[in-house]
Symmetry: C2
C-alpha cells in the first residue's frame, strides 16, 4: 500500500502548506485578511479543498493555535530545565512568555484572544497547553498555597500586559519596567 502512503503524505504536506500560508498571511496583514479565497490562491488550489482538511476558517486558526501551544511549552520548559540561576526562574519564565507573544503576535492572538473551540482547563485541553501552564506553576516555586490559582493570577497579569500592549492601550516600550514590578510582586521571598 505504498501508493496510499504517498497520497497520505501529500495530503499531510498540503495540510502544512495551508497552515503555513495562514500564519504568513496573518503575520503580514492580520487574521481578518486570512480569507479562504486568499488562502486557496496562495496554495494554488481551489477554495473548497480547504474544507477537505478543515471544518472551516475557525478550524484552521485552531490548528495554528495548537502549534503555538507546542512552541510556547517548549520555550517555557527550556527556562525551567536549563536552570543556570535557579533564583530567577520566575523572571525568566515571565520574560519568555512576553517574548513569545512579541515574536508571534498573531499566533498568540489565535491561542489566547480570538474565540476558539479549544477547551481550556478541562479533560480535552491539549497536552502542550497543560505543559505550558505547568511550567508557570513550577516557576512560582514549591511550597505555595493554592499554586494553581496563583499561577492563574500571574498568567492573567502576563496576558493582560500582552494584549494591552498589542492593542496599543499601554505603551509597549515600558514592558521591561512592568515585568520587573510583576516579578517583584510574585516573588516568594
Amino acid at each position: 500500500m505504498s501508493i496510499a502512503e504517498r497520497k497520505e503524505r501529500q495530503r499531510a504536506e498540503r495540510y502544512e502548506l495551508i497552515l503555513a500560508a495562514a500564519r504568513e498571511l496573518a503575520e503580514a496583514d492580520g487574521w481578518d485578511a486570512v480569507t479562504t479565497r486568499r488562502l486557496a490562491e496562495l496554495i494554488n488550489y481551489s477554495q473548497p479543498v480547504l474544507y477537505s482538511h478543515f471544518k472551516g476558517k475557525a478550524d484552521i486558526m485552531a490548528a495554528v493555535a495548537t502549534r503555538g501551544f507546542e512552541e510556547l511549552a517548549t520555550r517555557l520548559e527550556m527556562e525551567t530545565t536549563n536552570v543556570t540561576d535557579a533564583a530567577d526562574v520566575l523572571r525568566n519564565i515571565c520574560a519568555a512568555y512576553l517574548d513569545f507573544a512579541r515574536s508571534r503576535p498573531v499566533v498568540y492572538e489565535a491561542m489566547f484572544v480570538l474565540p476558539t473551540r479549544i477547551k481550556f482547563a478541562s479533560e480535552e485541553t491539549p497536552p502542550a497547553l497543560r505543559a505550558a501552564f505547568a511550567a508557570l506553576v513550577a516557576a512560582l516555586g514549591p511550597d505555595r498555597q493554592e499554586p494553581v490559582f496563583l499561577a492563574e493570577v500571574l498568567w492573567s497579569a502576563l496576558h493582560g500586559m500582552v494584549v494591552l500592549m498589542q492593542s496599543e492601550r499601554i505603551p509597549a516600550e515600558d514592558a521591561e519596567v512592568r515585568l520587573n514590578i510583576l516579578v517583584q510582586k510574585f516573588r516568594s521571598d
Copy 2:
C-alpha cells in the same frame, strides 16, 4: 430657530436609539450579530441612515465604548470617594472593576478588547478613561514609586482575569479567590 432645535433634538434621539439598539443586540447575541442591516431594522429606518450619524460600524462601537468609559469611571470613583473603610479601597476598586466587566461584558469588549480607534495613554484619550485610570492609581495608595507603571500592571492583571474568564480560558467561578490573591500581592503594607 425652534424648528431647527427640534430637528437637532430628534437627531440626538435617534443617535441614542442606535446606540441602545447596538448595545442590546450585542448583549443578546454578541458583536458579530450587530450588523448594520439588523440595526436599521431595529430602529425602523433604512440602513444608510446609520451612516449619517456614524462613519461605520466601528464608529458605533466606539461610541458604545465611550459611554462605557463614563460608567466605569463613575463606578470606580464611587469606591474612592465613599471611603467607608479606607484600608480596603484597593480591594473595592478591583472588585468594582471586575463587577463592571461581568455586568457589561460586551461593552467591556468594545472598550478594551476589540480593535478600536480610541487613543489610549495620549493627549486624545477620553476624559472618562483618564479618570478611571486615575482611580486605579489612587487606589494603590500614596507614596508609591512609579505609580503609573504599578497601576498598569494591576490593570493588566485585572484585564487578563476578565478576558480569560469571558473567553472561558480560566473558570469564572474562582474569581473571588483570584481577586484575594491579587489584592494581597499589591497591598502596600
